[in-house]
């Protein structure tokens, strides 16, 4: 299967390790992974902050770049939700049928990583090994936007040695919300404080999610508090094997291994 990776601007710039983990994982599962280098950003930040024109421009660019692939995989639930839910709305507001056609063609093929693994590839045991106590934060757009349900938990359940501990109040927002974190810092921080409190109560070593934006927010707070809990993207856990027990950031990652861990974790 010819799969295009949509890395997302945040992962591309700040969390390349997550991207390398996705590549490692998908290749291990037999996919041919392409990285269309013309890709940039899905436009979510612009749309959600009130700039639909810029968002539409970026959406047009996205549909140009990703036309023609069997599937597009992205390690971000909120970016996948942006393409699948918001692009059709942007297309309705935009003049002319060509953009709407492009959206109708491309948007349904865009999948968040856990969704792609479970629904498209049909696997829940990806051959990973990660002998640690892990709590999973489902993130709002995966949970209520994409309705991923228990797919991430099933994937983590298939990981050798991994102990999945339930996170109290898991379905509650962490308070990131893109520019919300900066526009309403007091409420955002209060929400994150409660999330961190719940994470600490689990006794987990690692907090996992399928979206680095939320992890950057929660992890940044954990690190500021020197809480001793690491945050890791789901892809990084699923990429880890007994042969490559490290961080699973791509066996052939070359340079930069270690820097990619900068999901704000306390290390």
């Amino acid at each position: 299967m010819r799969v295009a990776l949509f890395i997302t601007c945040v992962n591309d710039t700040l969390f390349p390790g997550t991207g390398r983990a996705v590549v490692t994982l998908l290749r291990r599962l037999g996919c041919e992974v392409a990285f269309p280098e013309a890709q940039t950003c899905c436009g979510q930040m612009h749309l959600n902050t009130g700039y639909p024109q810029e968002a539409t421009r970026l959406a047009r660019h996205f549909t140009d770049v990703f036309a023609g692939y069997d599937a597009v995989v992205t390690p971000s639930g909120s970016c996948a939700a942006m393409v699948r839910e918001q692009y059709p709305r942007l297309a309705r507001a935009a003049p002319g049928p060509s953009f709407a056609d492009a959206v109708a063609e491309t948007a349904p093929k865009v999948h968040d990583l856990p969704e792609f693994l479970v629904d498209v590839l049909g696997v829940t045991d990806v051959g990973a090994s990660f002998p640690h106590r892990v709590a999973y934060h489902p993130t709002c757009h995966s949970l209520r936007g994409l309705r991923l349900g228990d797919r991430p938990a099933r994937l983590l359940g298939g990981v050798r040695g991994l102990e999945l501990v339930p996170l109290p109040g898991a379905e509650e927002c962490c308070g990131f919300g893109g520019t919300f974190a900066v526009k309403n810092p007091a409420v955002s921080a209060a929400m994150c404080a409660d999330k961190v409190h719940n994470v600490m109560a689990t006794g987990a070593e690692v907090l996992c999610a399928a979206d680095n934006s939320c992890l950057m927010h929660i992890g940044g707070t954990l690190r500021r508090q020197r809480a001793g809990v690491r945050v890791m993207h789901l892809a990084e856990i699923l990429a880890a094997t007994e042969d490559d027990p490290g961080t699973g950031r791509g066996a052939k990652a070359g340079t930069g291994s270690g820097t990619g861990a900068g999901t704000g974790a306390a290390r």
Partner: protein, 481 residues
């Protein structure tokens, strides 16, 4: 809308103050979580909840699309049944009509059934200006009135108060308004309810005029419907000689049959009960009673004209969206600066007040709530919990994003967004920006300047990697070299 909120600062400042109030946060957390759990249980037990919710949405949409026709049908039916219908374009007109009707009875006081519409138009304050005292009879509304306070929740206006605070309010203020609180009043909920009962009972028996809202109006028969829990509504609706109901024009339902759907949706979403204790219905004037219906527009037809925003008019004021909202739970209701707090308030208030947009800046004189209204669509992390519980499927995040596009944007943000858009337009620009970031990463301060300091006040920023993903891919051929 009600004048009490005039001159309030924007949402972020209000919320920042509220977050510091640990008593408030404790009260809200407890109250919203209890009711949240109850709602989830009684909505979850119905196998056809999703179908009911969809039916509720369809009925409301159909009614809104044919509002003109159904309103005329309602007027005719109410008139036929001996009621009188008055049309009010805005708050001032509605208040004038109601005050005139009360004055015509020669009374100087009225009892009130809890009503959002009359709060929206600031009726109590307007009546007070004409020398008429309005007595609230809903328990929570009474607590707010006695405490000289503002409502902070649609269903439980005094949700920000705990019982010891309520006992203090009763002991100190009840005497000024009527029968004082009994000696030795404790903060036992039953004792507090009994004190309110005794206080209110005298009021009911002495009142000649009552003012209510309505949850629903049935166009085919001209029937009004009020759902409540305490029985105070039933008292107000039946005892006084004159009944005046002020109802928003969107509260219509075409037929009695439609009520079947909403009598299931509303109590389960609102109080988390299978059925509410009191459902009162009345058609026109009962014998020996005078009935007036004031139909209130107050910005609603303008909302109806907005294809995305109009779904807010489906709202049945159940308050489920408030009870699940993580922002409401921490900021409290007062931060929203309107009688409609929480997620529904964030989309309804700016639309009804028709302020907080770029367009209204030119059209309207500067209003005291302009900055507040502009900040409301941003009072959400877009987590979607509100949409999930809304019994009439209002996609609140969609409307929030829609309103954000119309809101005035700060200059620095506008420039930043334009610059980001420029970078994202071309992958080479993005790659260059990333390389620059990679080179400067060691110089990044722990605390960021300007608006971004809001991030680093409580969180560390992530380490910037030496190499972006795209550069790694290019250099290694996607890890194959």
């Amino acid at each position: 809308m009600s004048g009490v909120f005039l001159g309030m600062p924007a949402f972020p400042e209000n919320a920042a103050a509220a977050v510091q109030d640990s008593q408030l946060r404790f009260n809200l957390r407890r109250a919203t979580r209890t009711i949240r759990g109850k709602r989830a249980a009684v909505a979850g037990e119905l196998p056809d909840w999703a179908a009911l919710r969809d039916a509720g949405k369809q009925i409301k949409d159909h009614t809104l699309r044919n509002l003109d026709r159904y309103l005329l049908q309602l007027e005719e039916a109410v008139t036929r049944a001996g009621g009188r219908v008055h049309w009010a374009a805005d708050a001032a007109e509605a208040n004038r009509i109601v005050a005139g009707l009360v004055e015509a009875t020669g009374e100087t006081s009225v009892v009130k059934v809890k009503s959002m519409a009359t709060q929206e138009i600031g009726l109590n304050e307007a009546l007070a200006e004409r020398g008429i005292t309005a007595y609230e009879t809903d328990l929570a509304e009474l607590i707010v009135q006695l405490g000289d306070d503002w409502p902070s929740h649609i269903l439980v206006p005094a949700i920000h108060r705990n019982r010891s605070e309520i006992r203090e309010i009763f002991r100190e203020r009840m005497g000024e308004w009527g029968r004082p609180a009994p000696e030795g009043l404790t903060d036992d909920p039953r004792a507090l309810a009994e004190a309110a009962r005794l206080h209110l009972r005298e009021r009911f028996l002495a009142s000649e005029v009552a003012i209510s809202g309505a949850n629903f109006m049935i166009a085919e028969t001209g029937t009004l419907v009020v759902l409540e829990s305490e029985g105070n509504g039933r008292m107000c609706l039946t005892l006084p000689r004159t009944l005046i109901s002020v109802v928003g024009i969107e509260k219509l339902l075409p037929t009695w049959r439609d009520l079947e759907v909403f009598l299931q949706l509303l109590p389960r979403s609102s109080t988390g009960e299978r059925m509410n204790p009191y459902t009162s219905t009345w058609t026109g004037a009962a014998e020996g009673q005078e009935f007036h219906l004031v139909l209130l527009d107050n910005g609603r037809t303008a909302v109806l004209a907005d294809e995305v925003g109009r779904q807010a008019l489906r709202c049945i004021r159940c308050s489920a969206c408030l009870n699940v909202c993580p922002v409401y739970e921490r900021a409290g209701g007062h931060a929203y600066g309107s009688v409609y707090p929480g997620p529904i308030g964030a989309i309804l208030t700016p639309q009804l007040r028709r302020s907080g947009t770029v367009a209204s800046r030119d059209r309207l004189p500067p209003s005291a709530t302009r900055d507040l209204d502009a900040s409301l669509p941003y009072a959400s992390s877009l987590c979607g919990a509100c949409f999930e519980v809304c019994p009439v499927a209002i996609d609140i995040p969609e409307v929030l994003v829609h309103l954000r596009a119309q809101a005035p944007h700060p200059r620095a943000e506008r420039l930043g967004m334009r610059a980001a858009g420029w970078v994202f337009d071309r992958p080479v620009r993005l790659a260059r920006a990333q390389r620059l970031g990679g080179r400067l990463r060691r110089f990044l301060p722990r605390r960021l300047p300007g608006p971004l300091s809001a991030w680093t006040d409580t969180r560390d920023i992530p380490d910037i990697p030496a190499e972006s993903f795209r550069d790694w891919w290019g250099r290694t051929g996607g890890g194959t070299r």
